[in-house]
Structure formats: C-alpha cells, structure tokens
C-alpha cells in the first residue's frame, strides 16, 4: 500500500517536471517595455523596419505621407538628430545601425535610382557605395563596427546576398 502511494507520487512529480521543461520552451516570457512602447506610439503613428544598436533604435517612420529615418536613444527616450540624412528628393527603403550608433547603412530611392549609402552621424556625411556589377539593393545589415555590410541585391532577376567589407 505504502509502496503504491510512493509510486503514484513519483509518477506525478516526473509528470510535473516534464510539463515544466516542455513549458519552458513555449512560455512567452518576454516582457513588453510598456512605458517606452507607449511613448513610441504617441510620437510615431506608423513605424517599421526596426534596427537596434547598443542603446539605439533606428526605424522608418511615416510622417505626412513620407517615410523618413528616425533614431531614438533608448535610455533617455530622446530623438537623435540626423542632419543631412532625410532629404525631400529621396525615400528610404531599408536601414541598419552600427552598435555604437555612429554609422547607418541605408537603401534609398532617389528619382529612378536605388542607392546604397553609408551615413556617419558625428560628421553628418553621406557616402554612396557602388555595387559591382550593378544590381538593385533591397535590404541592408551593418555589423557593430560599421565596416561590414550584408546587402540583398536583385541581379539577373534573382535575389542574392553580398557581403561588402569597407576599407578605409
């Protein structure tokens, strides 16, 4: 009788352990940063293409029917000025920020050109990166040093990925 109750108890404990271990994989235990999300929603009614640096959130926001790149310093929740980046004659398509927030890689549409650019925040300069052979860039990612780019390019009717190591 005693043996049977111990057997039942051990069976229940094993079942509970199994349930908890499986549950660990499926539990949605990531918490929304509510106050930050609420202030983000108030500032930007429409926001897409997030890219995170160590303390930075960069995204494309729609303002008065036009997309532009915005950068937020997460700890202070302040907008970071990006002089010379958003221009009236171009529309950004994709953006990525380096870890320290110093460099931004972006793809923009300007007239009939789709351009891959690097922006340096401290000096406010924008430099075009040429693709060779030519192709149409669609999406970009920057490593934390801001020296390596991965770009999705359309070439000969096919999407391919290229890694570009910037020198100098």
């Amino acid at each position: 009788m005693k043996f049977r109750s111990i057997y039942k108890l051990s069976f229940r404990v094993s079942f509970l352990c199994l349930f908890l271990s499986v549950g660990g994989c499926f539990r949605g235990d990531m918490r929304p940063v509510r106050s930050f999300n609420e202030s983000l929603e108030q500032i930007y009614p429409s926001q897409r293409e997030p890219s995170m640096g160590k303390e930075w959130l960069v995204s494309l926001v729609n303002s008065q029917g036009k997309d532009k790149i915005e950068m937020i310093h997460i700890p202070t929740r302040r907008k970071v000025p990006l002089p010379g980046l958003n221009r009236a004659d171009s529309q950004p398509i994709s953006v990525s920020v380096s870890g320290d927030g110093e460099r931004l890689a972006l793809i923009r549409q300007r007239y009939d050109q789709t351009e891959l650019m690097i922006y340096r925040r401290s000096v406010g300069t924008l430099k075009r990166i040429e693709l060779s052979p030519k192709g149409i860039p669609r999406r970009v990612s920057l490593d934390n040093s801001g020296q390596i780019l991965a770009v999705q390019v359309s070439r000969d009717g096919r999407w391919i990925v290229e890694v570009i190591r910037l020198q100098g």
């Binding site: 660990g24 994989c25 499926f26 539990r27 949605g28 235990d29 990531m30 918490r31 929304p32 940063v33 930050f36 999300n37 983000l40 929603e41 930007y44 009614p45 429409s46 926001q47 897409r48 293409e49 997030p50 890219s51 995170m52 640096g53 160590k54 959130l57 995204s59 997460i74 870890g99 990166i129 693709l131 060779s132 669609r138 999406r139 970009v140 990612s141 920057l142 490593d143 934390n144 040093s145 020296q147 390596i148 780019l149 991965a150 770009v151 999705q152 096919r158 999407w159 391919i160 990925v161 290229e162 890694v163 570009i164 190591r165 910037l166 020198q167 100098g168």
Partner: protein
C-alpha cells in the same frame, strides 16, 4: 618646376587615398536548388551571416560562418516555415526569427550555446512582421501589424536569456566561444 612636382605628389596621394577607400565584395555560391537569398543580417562581430533562402519552395533561415562559408546547423529552426526577418546577437549565440505555427506568426529565439529555444506569441490581433535583436540580446524590437497600422514594440529579454557580450568584455555571465 617645384609647383609641378607638388601637383604630381598631390595627385598621387589622392589616388592612394581613393583606392584605400574602396570595398571588397563577397558572394555566396549555393546549390542550384536554392532559388533566392533574402533578408541578410550580420552578427555584431561580423563573423556570422543569417539569411532567408528559398529551398524547395520553402523560405528557411540559414546561418553561415563568414570565415569559411560553412553553413551552421540550427536545432530548432528546421521547421515552422516560412521564416522571415532573422536577427543575430553579438557573437551569433542567439538567432531570432519570425516563424509560423499553425495559422499564427510567432517569434522564435534559438540559443546556439545551450540548444534551448524561446518562443514569443503576440496577441492574435498583432502580427509580427520584422524584428531586431539588441547586440547583447537583452532586448528585441518587433514591428507588428496592429489594426491596419505598423508599430514597433520593445521587449525585455534580460530575465529570460543571458546576455551575449563581445568577447573579452567582463559580464555577469561568461560567454564561451560558439562556433
């Protein structure tokens, strides 16, 4: 005469400077069955590349080591296709991706060090579209479609997973080397 020599030196130095500002491009050869490569993302240290490849009509995440071009094995991400919007932490310990389970989109984060996976189901009316992990993986920003609008929400992961710090930096957890 001196002025002409000076001009030559200036031109030479300019050419040298311009050539050093160039760039080097690497491309990836895949098997013929892979029809497209999309959505590239680099790890913070620039040594790993995650991308979405179309293989036998299915969009699946693939992880590559850029040092040797090798495709790295993923334990939890061989199903739940289509995958989209991959994101990597600093050393590539964590790979986050948007995946499909039944008729719902969800976020899956694979920990390549422990082999565990973490899942985030958003409320049914908010569909995750794109994401970005912070370099140390303590936060993730997710773009969602919500009532016809696009919005970005930040999620705190610091109580769920260990941070992935750059090698050599002291943190509260030791980050072993991950292949």
């Amino acid at each position: 005469m001196v002025k002409s020599d000076l001009q030559k030196i200036v031109i030479f130095l300019s050419c040298l400077l311009l050539s050093s500002c160039g760039s080097r491009i690497e491309r990836f050869q895949d098997s013929l069955e892979i029809r497209s490569q999309q959505d590239p993302v680099l790890s913070g240290d620039g040594q790993k590349l995650a991308l979405i490849v179309e293989y036998k009509g299915r969009l699946s995440v693939q992880l590559r080591d850029l040092r040797n071009g090798e495709v790295l094995r993923l334990r939890h991400l061989s199903r739940n296709q289509p995958h989209s919007s991959p994101s990597l932490s600093w050393n590539g310990r964590y790979l986050a991706v948007i995946a499909q389970r039944g008729n719902r989109r969800l976020v899956i984060i694979e920990d390549r060090l422990t082999g565990r996976s973490h899942h985030l189901l958003t409320p049914r009316e908010r569909i995750p579209l794109r994401l970005s992990l912070a370099p140390d993986a303590t936060q993730v920003a997710i773009q969602m479609a919500d009532k016809g609008k696009w919005r970005i929400e930040l999620f705190d992961l610091s109580k769920t997973i260990e941070s992935d710090q750059p090698r050599g930096r002291i943190s509260n957890t030791t980050s072993p080397v991950i292949r």
